[in-house]
Symmetry: C2
Amino acid sequence: MTEVEAKKPQESLQDRLAQVIELLHRHKLVEDLTHRQEGQHHDRVENLVHRQNLVELQRKLEDLHPADIAHILEALPLDERLTVWQLVKSERDGDILLEVSDAVRETLIADMDDHEILAAAKDLDADELADLAPELPRDVVHELMESLDAQQRERVRSALSYEEDQVGALMDFEMVTIREDVSLEVVLRYLRRLKELPGHTDKLFVVDYDGVLKGVLPIKRLLVNDPDKQVGEVMADDPVSFHPDEDGYDAAQAFERYDLISAPVVDKNGKLIGRLTIDEMVDLIREESESEVLNMAGLREEEDIFASVWKSVRNRWAWLAINLVTAFLASRVIGLFEGSIEKLVALAALMPIVAGIGGNSGNQTITMIVRAMALDQVSTGNTARLVRKELGVSLINGILWGGVIGGVAYYLYDSWSLGVVMTAAMTLNLLLAALMGVLIPMTLARLGRDPAMGASVMITAMTDSGGFFIFLGLASIFLM
Amino acid sequence: MTEVEAKKPQESLQDRLAQVIELLHRHKLVEDLTHRQEGQHHDRVENLVHRQNLVELQRKLEDLHPADIAHILEALPLDERLTVWQLVKSERDGDILLEVSDAVRETLIADMDDHEILAAAKDLDADELADLAPELPRDVVHELMESLDAQQRERVRSALSYEEDQVGALMDFEMVTIREDVSLEVVLRYLRRLKELPGHTDKLFVVDYDGVLKGVLPIKRLLVNDPDKQVGEVMADDPVSFHPDEDGYDAAQAFERYDLISAPVVDKNGKLIGRLTIDEMVDLIREESESEVLNMAGLREEEDIFASVWKSVRNRWAWLAINLVTAFLASRVIGLFEGSIEKLVALAALMPIVAGIGGNSGNQTITMIVRAMALDQVSTGNTARLVRKELGVSLINGILWGGVIGGVAYYLYDSWSLGVVMTAAMTLNLLLAALMGVLIPMTLARLGRDPAMGASVMITAMTDSGGFFIFLGLASIFLM
């Protein structure tokens, strides 16, 4: 990516978004007018105003950092997004494509012809090309690869050989390497000859003649130590390093924990092959927490807020279908007790309370557990303890709130025994919710799935069916 | 914080956690044994084993980075957490306290006497002291402040005068400042005299004689440029800077967007007063997404997974109570239609399907919107469009899945009109869910509240009451 020194924006991002939207709407208004007058006398003035608006918008966009343009593209519906996209200078296309989310990137690439894509991609680094490649048309990728030198091509291939969230796919290749048997003075002179250092260079990598990592020289140490000292005396010889097949999210957590800016990636022979930087890690941390939220609600991550209705339907389809099945099962549970309900119709009015509170409480538990698991705080050693604690919380809530609602039921339907059944059912369903709230994410994890996956849908299914069964069952036994 | 060069851990964090837990359990087993034999002949061997275990555990802990110890403390129940805490060397207490979450920090500080707290805090910087101060006993804070020099005391006071998530509370004071009319050579010599540079120093701050920020000198430029050049020629003179009363989360987004490592904080006269660093921002990004997840489920953030049962009950109380009220309202809606249910008991079995699917679909919508709002992608300009899109998705899902479930209802109860009512009710409830899924978070935001706050509880309340009303209402009109 071309390095852009970020300047202090004059207005907030929200303001700038609002301005772009305003310009777009003004543009559209004029376009509509011109369109309506077509066939009639063609009005030159209108056309001029139209063009002026576009020029103003284009000037606005030129002042913005690629990341800000990406943000604006994310926040626009498809047609307006493409209008803005066409106004952006083509040499900036590559940087912007790297900043937008996958879903938006797809819509932008679909709007470009091969020639434009090639122009946008030609200034990118190997790791950036590898990020884009999976979404580009096959022959464009082929042509791009042809244009690279052997080393670059090898790097793109290597990056593409890893899964999207493995360290090997996240690393870049912009490393400054030095030898340990030279003086700091020599290093300083060497850096000056480079003219430019890669972004996020907080340390130099010390390698031997075979390219094996011997240590790192933090820039801080380079600056404060006597220039006559040798690199080997000053370097840190046991730095945090990563392997290309490690999980990127684990690496991100290490960056967060040890406050790293950059870190070397080595192969299994200890040879330096790339580096990770904090900016990629921050993106990963952000994406991971987002997909946790979305997964819990049974959404996949690829939906941008202005995705087409059809795309959204498909995104939400799977869990809605699962929910339909579970809701149907809950309905059949009620079906089992239709006789009881016919005799005592109050049961129909009270049963959703038992199910609803259970669902809410279960969602609280499962949210806590999923979060603790994401932070690696849950191990097999403490499962039993967690279950005990959650059961304790549920027992108190059940007796307490169950008691309240039991009292209300007694007051409304003037039946002492109905109140007791209500309290008992609520307590039992809350206990079920607590148990399932711990066990569902743990079981998913043990099966190698994401513990957040559809967690909310599943716990609600349990507490619905369970709640109806417990309440109507108790009622059938004790009230009929 | 004392700077610790992070070393590559030999084992994963999970492994280390498991080892500590194992050592703790062995320790406890021996303690239980010794305890049981008390009053009897006191067994010296047992006591020896006991001590050996603790020594082994202590050695294990000494090898760990403060951030790793913090992680282990988070993952342990209270009693074991305190056992580990007492084994940690007191000079590391301060660093570890800074790393743990608020909830865990509270439990650790409660276990320390004033003397221990003072010892732990004495090596901390002003901004770190300010982080801890609100949770320390009053007289300890007083004593700490007394021990500081005037400048440090002023800095702690200043940091404490801002809200927890304002830039002023997040900044540190470890800045290296230089003048613009000196040569890079002079700067290099000056840095060498400092012996050590603050962590995350990727740029030096250029100020005039009044301390007003004139620009920043990225270390990268210092290294690659001719040492004879003046700072003024090489510096970036319009850097991204922040004000102390800005929202920290906005600053974090700017760090993410512009790939910053550090940035100056200036007062309203342009005077340099502190700096922000990426490590604080990463923590903020993480915390923000966590509290979003928790808020949606109606949880406050202060609960650690091993919080006492009572503390957890209080944490979850408020939203459970609200849920109880909404569930009761839904129950009264059903109560209105008891007559209809008595006549056609199938309604009781079918109504939770309508409510449940609505809740699930509404949760999907609200999750999308809350997320888009957190990313600043939603502005007043596009609300109407979002509502239209969500209504479109719901309409398709309603007709489709509503049709399926209508078919099932027809098959089960052999009533053609019941099937139609079911399909219609599901479609209408999904439309309601879509509308509310967009409007609830937007309204909360307009009222100045967190849009995620209890979002899940509220949408479920709407779709439950709404679903019952729509379904039973339609049934009463068309089937009775």
